[in-house]
Amino acid sequence: MRKVAYYKGCLASLSAKELDSATQALAPKVGLELIELESVTCCGAGDIHEAEPDYYLHLNARILSYAAAEGVDTLLTVCNVCTLNLRQANFMLLGDTELRARVNENLVAVGVPAYEQDVDVRHLLWEIAEGEGYELLKGAAHKGLKGLKIAPFYGCQILRPSKIQGFEDPDRPWSLERIIQACGGEPVDYPAKIKCCGFPIIQAREETALSELIQPIEQAYEAGADAIVTPCPLCHLSLDAWQSKLKKSTGRDFNMPILHLSQLVGVAAGLTESELKFKRHVVSVKPVLEKLEA
């Protein structure tokens, strides 16, 4: 069992509690012992980076510092946006000793340990798409997905900018497809799988956001997918909760179930509803579960 610091972020703490619960239940099956960080805050979700960038850097340095204080080398995330914000701040600090010294001085001044021991920020997707995590996943997914057609939706910030993320080719990603296959599902391909779900502007520019959101849902639907899976709770919220709003603009009722990555693997690994909490979804996951039980 490999110990990693676990940063669940805002959504998994609140409106997407099902993601946290499914991740906690899945982790030991893929060889991860999660050390939940308590004294941490929001990463700023790109918004604090744009509103008060120096505060963004310090907030994230504080999270990195508390992760390092656990004596681990990896900070595990379950959200695209947390992953980018933390990795970006981390590279700013690792690549500039003067900047790191100044940030550390400020951290210490408010009672936070200095960020000394480097940690690497990694998304759960990367941990289970290759290496030991992948081998364990193959063994754990014993219940399988019975050939369900699953549309992988990556979202943006786990792929781009690739100089910061860099896990896989941002134009031809393979990790979700590999996991879907390992779980006994059939990945379907469609162009919008690497595009934006619209979430960052879904409140400030809803119409523009919905024009983005419809693409993956419509294309996955046309590709015959039973469900979409995403590694990001913001994409999940957008695709799941805002899906009903597409009806008004298009007159079409999509009802495409949206699964978190941890839930998809969790289903294949035989986790139960008490851990997966599908009842918290806006679009019902029932059709998927019924197909699995059939």
């Binding site: 700023g44 690792l94 781009r160 400030a204 979804h281």
Partner: protein, 364 residues
Amino acid sequence: MQVGLKIWRFNSRTGERELQEYEIAAPEEATLLDCLDIVKDQHDGTLAYRKSCRMMICGSCGMRMDGAAVLACKMRMYDIAQSGHVPVISAMGNLPIVKDLVVDMDPFWQKFNSVNPYLQPGYEEPPDGKEHVISQQRMNVVHKEALCINCGCCVSECNAMEADPMFTGPQALAKAMRFVGDPRDGQKLARLEKLNGEHGIWECTRCYFCNERCPKGVDPRDAIAKLGAESMKEGIDRDMGAKHAKWFVTSARTTGWLRETELVPKTQGIVSAIKQTRFALDLARKGKVPPPFPPHVAKDVREARRLHDLVRDQGRNGFAGIVQGEHALARLAHGHSGTETLEEIYDRPGAYHRPFIADEEADV
């Protein structure tokens, strides 16, 4: 080497569209542009594309290869030809096609012009006979933005512009930052006011395609974030996007975690929030609207609050807060992790194709 290309031909007068395949012989160091020249010279003189400098500075030859915008003159074909892959070449996205690979750049230039892409007077004149001397450090603020060659690769892939063609877009906004950040410009506040309009900076959806595609390292998304930060610093925060961003700061320093339920009224205002009540109730039934009371408070959140006040007093917000990280992030762009060899850098998953290296032939 033999290079195969599939090219989307298009005739805007007739609307005819056809995928044509070409097989050509090209020198091993050939770029995509060299290959197109060979097609045009030796195989099919009717092929249309733009080019001029052939050395990544004029910005004429933006086009798509396998769906991703590239500068044809930057794209070496050696690895692709060796792998046997036949790439699909098409015109850039988000702009109307005139013929084959030539797009109508008019909408692009209109947006470019809309940000007044030139220095405007109004700064304090130095005393008589003195030069206006500006430090290198101060000019570093716009170093990346000044690299833009107006090729349109960022615009081609912009997800927000695809959803709303009126969006000012990454190129024009990066250009705007080039002048907002320039100490010789006298219209910073007026520029920021305008950039906070309906189709301005807050319509960016942060898909990061622009950063990914830019062949010159401009990172337009980061330029847009700099404009946002500078607007907020100057108190220009009336847009819903700005209010949205501000609520994250308030949340972080009060409870530590995002206060999700209050985000909608804080962003859109109470009236709009009430109009969405039915939608909100649907979400609430699923536990997607966590009750604001009692608030979910992070442990030791006092530290986050004190950190906020301390950092605010140090005055590095606005674009300066983003610029301070550029030096370190540029090392990533150039592949300096410190321990990797050049070969390892190019062999990273997702790295750009390795450039053609003459004496490496033996390995192939």
